[in-house]
Point group: C2
Chain length 391, copies 2
């Protein structure tokens, strides 16, 4: 067995996204103890920066020491007790995972479904709340990574809050890429991932819990089924009052990376980062459409950072991805679940959302499609993208 | 908020231990996709190297994408169903955590206890198995990080197997430092951590499951309560047959670090690493005893890699640790639980188990104790340590 030296890739799939060299450099800094005062100070800075990124005053805002799916599980295992009804909006893979989580907590999922690629209608969600007045929680996916659909988070949350539910939001692919307004939207629990618009390696899940959520957790009748994800234990580990109690050992170097990514985000400015993602989506879209390709999701519901591009008829989509990876060192994503074989998922997340990446992607995709004799417009994508970029 | 640059420390606490520069360099390699063929190949290499480190042929041997406590939770949530009786040996903090896990799974813990700092008597454990013939699982801590006690793993496991129990072993602090013989001892589920004798940063938990354990999981009556830790889902993610199914996003760069740490371990040789830990413990012990200090644990039950040193009367132990950290950039550990204020925990784990670290630690500790007017022998520790080192 020899040391592993990966071929550098350009990452334009559904995540991980390209990691800034300052973040990889931070990962390699000397490991110190997780109870070292310097480390504790850094944890406090991470909490503060995550609050600003989530736009919240929530005290319980911190990174879970595991990937995004553990952030999801943390929210459900702490907030759902057996027998509780949870209204879940599903229009892709991650709503389905919410259902799995609720069932494993002994909760009763009430599903509100839309086809993959379409948004959840707030009226339909409200009907479920009317039909189930005893529902206590409402969950939806802000940025559906499996389809590229953006939820109308503010309206969904307002309906749920009006019916007395606590609101859980999956914003794994949202945070840092599009507006996330935890306090303004009255979201009670949200989780994200580091490997999307924050442009860190995968492995951590920033979460935030409102005081209402913490109160519900504190007054639980029975212990949380997960020891590792029990918020009542994590509170004393992540609390900033100097009385830290040992819980688990935090992933020290991964947190160096997240800290540096948050420094980069603050240097750019959160709203400017949102604007860059929006702009790069427009640039990319112009190129894709000039090539004759189509996006799956209707314009108003699209996530700028995750573009589901419809695969033209007769194209061997796996062969195209192989060409991109092997010849251009460019990764794009396959379709997931019911969209497998129908779309590619092309990410413009975080540090991947740059003009040079878009030029590479359009060039490589056009080349691969030409080799597949696909029916596309040749030689027009780059000019169209450039025109939007220069606007 | 500015970039974080930690002060380099020498890590001689209960973990994390010093990380080899080749491991930190590996962390900083370019992030690639977790479904990239190159990454999948590296995962297979990690699985193979972990099998060799655990001394097992178990197919299900892989690193959980979260710290050691998640490896513990994985073993319990998959193997315990509600109502099942689990015999748990407790002689420190981590046996107590096992109890927490069993209870949260709806299992019934049957406790076999010894005082902190003493080993579990196999006869006492057997009595619990006789008294509870319907117990299905038996769990013990191989290397108790809270006390420095090593379990008689082979004998404990043999008794449990003779009574038809599956055996769960916590070897978070054991793997790579002392003999771990999963197949020979017939251990059914074991978990470890990367930040102890493997000398990686914290954040991953190597686990191994026997075919017997996998069979029990496969024939469960109800779903595992954790989605993130469900082995039936992780099997398809970590399987080496090329048909990987997306589960979560693996912590790519952390795995680069683990891979490099395993390359280093194979370069040294597993048995040579065990011998180095044993030797360095003797060197350290000679110095500590020459100073007039005593170790908590009896000689035959001691872990070489974690030394519980008794705090001399009248010494402000926190002040000593502060002196070590602030003047010598040296971290040692405080006592945990019932040993708080009574011992320091001094780790000689992985890359921390070197002669130069021992010299630094003895020197710094003697200096700090002199400043505390402790009743110790002055100026004899280094010569005693050196004599053993040169043997």
């Amino acid at each position: 067995m020899k040391s592993f030296h990966p071929t550098p890739r350009t990452l334009m799939g559904p995540g991980p996204s390209d990691v800034h060299p300052r973040v990889t450099a931070a990962l390699a800094r000397p490991t110190i103890g997780h109870l070292d005062p310097e480390f504790v100070g850094m944890m406090d800075e991470i909490k503060g920066a995550l609050r600003r990124a989530f736009r919240t005053e929530n005290e319980m805002t911190f990174p879970v020491s595991a990937p995004g799916s553990s952030g999801m599980e943390l929210c459900f295992v702490n907030l759902v007790e057996p027998g509780e009804k949870v209204v879940i909006c599903q229009n892709g893979a991650f709503g389905g995972r919410m259902k799995e989580n609720v069932e494993r907590c002994g909760g009763v999922p009430i599903m509100v479904e839309s086809p993959w690629g379409e948004r959840i209608d707030p009226e339909g969600a409200e009907q479920a709340l009317i039909d189930h007045p005893d529902a206590t929680l409402f969950a939806f996916v802000h940025a559906e990574t499996s389809t590229g659909v953006k939820a109308d988070a503010e309206r969904l949350s307002a309906r749920a809050r009006a019916h007395g539910c606590l609101v859980i939001m999956d914003t794994v692919t949202g945070l840092g890429g599009i507006p996330v307004e935890i306090d303004k939207w009255e979201i009670d629990a949200a989780y994200s991932g580091t490997q999307k618009c924050l442009s860190c390696p995968p492995g951590l899940s920033p979460v935030t819990l409102s005081d209402r959520a913490v109160e519900k957790i504190t007054s639980r009748a029975r212990k949380v089924q997960s020891w590792f994800l029990d918020v009542s234990l994590l509170t004393t580990y992540w609390s900033g009052n100097g009385q830290r109690t040992y819980h688990h050992t935090a992933p020290v170097n991964a947190l160096y990376g997240l800290h540096e990514a948050l420094v980069l985000l603050e240097e750019e400015g959160l709203e400017k980062a949102w604007a860059r993602h929006a702009k790069m989506h427009e640039v990319f879209k112009a190129g894709i459409e000039a090539m004759g390709l189509e996006l799956l999701v209707s314009e108003e519901d699209r996530l700028p950072q995750l573009n589901a591009v419809q695969i033209p008829a007769g194209v061997d989509e796996l062969e195209v991805r192989k060409t991109l990876l092997n010849r251009f060192n460019l990764e794009i994503g396959a379709g997931l679940g019911s969209l497998a074989g129908q779309v590619w998922r092309i990410g413009l997340m975080g540090h991947s959302a740059t003009y040079e990446n878009i030029v590479l992607c359009l060039t490589a995709l056009e080349q691969a499609l030409i080799e597949q004799q696909a029916n596309i417009n040749h030689g027009q994508a780059l000019a169209a993208a450039h025109a939007v970029f220069c606007r």
